[in-house]
């Protein structure tokens, strides 16, 4: 029963968490670095929304074109979340780096990833309405995102099945890696199946593209803002997960005491 208590192994997942682990277990808040991460996230999000609202309406898409400020950023953050879940799951499965912390990171990241994927689908759908004339088209990337959402909803459902921490961690880590293995297969399947999306967002950075510079700026700011929001949420969700597991860990010593007392009272 060795459970890592240092925060250093969180470094890869969220570079800005230093100091948060020093907070006493009973404290709900984070350290100063977490706080500044949160401030940065809120500021960046505010700036993105502000910039997005000042964008001009375009001829084809009207007011909806402002969604470029948040939709690509949300999609990006959802991919980051899925990637972090996969990485943390692999680190849990790797015997030398096995630590319950990686399981907590994987679960927390997947939860945030599901929210971001759902928001990606919602904003994409709203954005697509004026362009395509319908809420939903069977475009390859929309379909892929929907499948990803379903895969990770399954993953979260599996995590919620009551089980000892290591059992839960093993099942979840395997499922997360399988999900990541399936994503490229799904990608090929739906891309060959049909493709009518308007090219990848980053491809629009080509010089000579007629997209206005302001749009590119808003989109890039959106990437930054969503990444910061993701990192901030992750830090806090991981801390809550750790506290939950610590509470249960502390219960074990008491449980053994109680179990032994049965012998006296029996």
């Amino acid at each position: 029963m060795t459970i890592a208590t240092s925060t250093s192994d969180l470094g890869a997942a969220a570079p800005a968490t230093g100091g948060s682990g020093a907070a006493p277990a009973g404290r709900g808040g984070g350290g100063p670095l977490t706080l500044s991460l949160g401030l940065a996230a809120v500021l960046a999000l505010g700036a993105t929304v502000g910039l997005g609202l000042t964008l001009p309406a375009t001829v084809e898409q009207g007011e909806y074109s402002r969604l470029i400020a948040i939709h690509p950023g949300l999609a990006w953050a959802s991919y980051v979340a899925v990637g972090v879940t996969a990485l943390a799951s692999a680190l849990w499965l790797w015997p030398r780096s096995r630590s319950l912390r990686w399981d907590q990171v994987a679960g927390a990241s997947a939860e945030i990833g599901v929210v971001f994927t759902a928001l990606t689908l919602a904003t994409g759908s709203i954005w697509g309405r004026p362009t395509w004339g319908v809420w939903w088209v069977w475009d390859a990337r929309l379909t892929l995102s929907a499948l990803m959402l379903a895969l990770y909803l399954g993953y979260l459902a599996l995590r919620r099945v009551p089980a000892p921490p290591d059992v839960r961690a093993r099942r979840s880590a395997l499922t997360a890696l399988l999900a990541v293995a399936v994503v490229p297969l799904n990608h090929f399947a739906v891309t060959w199946w049909r493709t009518l999306h308007q090219g990848r967002s980053l491809a629009q950075l080509d010089p000579g593209n007629d997209l206005d510079g302001a749009f590119i700026g808003a989109m890039l700011l959106g990437f930054l803002a969503m990444t910061l929001v993701y990192a901030w949420l992750l830090v806090h969700r991981v801390r809550v997960a750790r506290l939950e597991d610590e509470v249960e860990e502390a219960g074990l010593v008491r449980a053994i005491e109680e179990r032994r007392r049965e012998a006296v009272t029996a």
């Binding site: 029963m1 009551p162 089980a163 000892p164 249960e248 219960g251 074990l252 449980a255 053994i256 179990r259 032994r260 007392r261 049965e262 012998a263 006296v264 029996a266």
Partner: protein
């Protein structure tokens, strides 16, 4: 060390429940140990831990020289566990079931035939579906699988439950025979009179620990101590 079982401060968890809460137990080879205790005392978990099924999370645990904390799978082919469930497929006949488990455990076909004959499973019952068997007949079938596998450590959880008088006699004879041949038997039982006649020692479990290690053998249960060696059939 030549003990069949060596446990020290062993803790086993069922989920988050410490079913074994720091248990010490040494069983020498060739012993027949009776484990007593109220319901929920930890008897079944102890037997499953000794079979390498339940992970040991704290303390020391060695069975037949295998360290359970390092690799609990290694001990499994060498133990035989008779649990509460008969571990038979309802939709297969007795013979199909026994053949599958015997081949899975790499038992010799001749051993299986002898075991089936011993428990009266070679006649009419052979081709009956397990679903149609009574509880006692399933017990017999489960015991026949164990016999065919010739384990070094026998872990019997309530072995007498459900068996008729003849079945009990066969079981008792079996226990005497295998211990005489050098195997070790740990049996958990509430039928103290029956089991005490078999056992060379008894311990009492409560709250996931040994509360009475048998040094104070109750006279009422002592019965005639068996000393004479029983010849192997």
């Amino acid at each position: 060390m030549d003990d069949a079982v060596h446990l020290r401060s062993t803790v086993c968890l069922l989920g988050r429940f410490p079913a074994l809460a720091g248990l010490d137990l040494v069983v020498a080879r060739g012993e027949t140990l009776l484990v007593r205790g109220a319901n929920g005392a930890g008897k079944t978990t102890l037997l499953r831990a000794l079979a390498g099924l339940v992970p040991v999370v704290e303390g020391r645990a060695e069975v037949l020289g295998c360290d359970l904390r390092r690799d609990r799978r290694r001990v499994r082919p060498r133990v035989g566990l008779l649990g509460h469930g008969p571990a038979l497929y309802d939709e297969l006949s007795v013979a199909d079931n026994l053949r599958f488990w015997a081949r899975a455990g790499r038992a010799r076909p001749a051993d299986l035939g002898a075991a089936m004959a011993r428990f009266g499973l070679d006649g009419r019952l052979r081709d009956v579906l397990v679903a149609r068997l009574s509880a006692g007949q399933r017990r017999r079938a489960a015991l026949a699988v164990l016999v065919a596998r010739t384990p070094e450590l026998w872990l019997l959880d309530e072995p007498h439950a459900g068996l008729d008088a003849a079945g009990r006699d066969v079981l008792d004879e079996l226990v005497r025979e295998v211990t005489a041949a050098g195997a070790t038997v740990v049996l958990a039982s509430h039928e103290l009179e029956r089991a005490a006649g078999l056992a060379t020692r008894s311990v009492t479990l409560a709250g996931g620990r040994i509360v009475d290690d048998g040094s104070r053998w109750p006279d009422a249960l002592a019965g005639p101590r068996r000393q004479e060696p029983v010849h192997v059939a």
